[in-house]
Subunit: 129 residues, 2 copies
DNA sequence: GCGCATTAGATGCGTGCGCATGTATGGTCT
DNA sequence: AGACCATACATGCGCACGCATCTAATGCGC
């Protein structure tokens, strides 16, 4: 079990750092930023609640609030008040956001394949037995 | 591949947060702090170089330098100059450090079993096929 | 309608991180 | 020996995070 955890830590660190570097250099996005855009593109919806996204990317509500603020400042998403419940906001991906995501997605997939593809098929399988 | 990565992210987040909470509350240790102590106890050595530990716990050298400083302030490790190469230091675990580790280890294992034991045997096995 | 607990999201604050750099020592080449 | 680059760790700085708290809007009981 400890071994499984260390494997998980190692893989997480490797992939995360690689994503941070590649996405950062080529598309000015962090791994979490990309993951948020990815979620929004992948499920056809265009409106998201902050807490919904926070759960999806395993960040706190406050972290998501700031992350959305960064994306908004970059013009990749927009915030609009939810009319039905004016406490909440809807996060909508913009055309720029979709474009940035489309540009970054290949990089993202490439990194996953490169880093996980190397060590994963063997090591990810080690645990259950 | 994307699914594997998301599974990895989810498991990492779940375990990490649980460790942070449990180790923090019960033993005043972060996951990384515990991992460093764990490495030092597990391999019989009593002297470690900073970079060696940094690699083991997937942190930058600067992060490890500060982490060691925190552990030293808490009296769990001590730094001593390496006579052979006076640029480097040796990090030694103290008796207090061993005691703290011994106290925290059961908590650590319990969290791993609880969190990974739930979802892991199934999900960790999904990738290689 | 009027309080009051609840919920959604924003924000102040402290902390740990990585990057770049600083400082000291070691090794090498001439 | 002296100049020069490399190595080992420490430190200044900025950033993203979580926790606690704040603000605004909702809903519920009366």
């Amino acid at each position: 079990m400890v071994t499984a955890w260390r494997t998980l830590l190692a893989q997480h660190a490797a992939v995360w750092c690689a994503l941070e570097r590649e996405l950062g250099e080529k598309h000015h996005l962090g791994p979490s930023e990309f993951e948020v855009l990815d979620r929004m593109v992948e499920s056809g919806q265009d409106k998201y609640r902050v807490q919904e996204l926070a759960d999806a990317v395993h960040l706190s509500q406050s972290a998501l609030s700031r992350l959305i603020a960064r994306l908004e400042r970059a013009g990749l998403v927009s915030r609009s008040i939810c009319q039905a419940d004016r406490r909440g906001i809807f996060v909508c991906i913009t055309d720029d956001g979709r474009a940035r995501h489309a540009a970054a997605a290949p990089t993202h997939r490439a990194v996953l394949t490169a880093v996980l593809g190397d060590a994963a098929p063997a090591t990810l399988a080690t645990v259950p037995a």
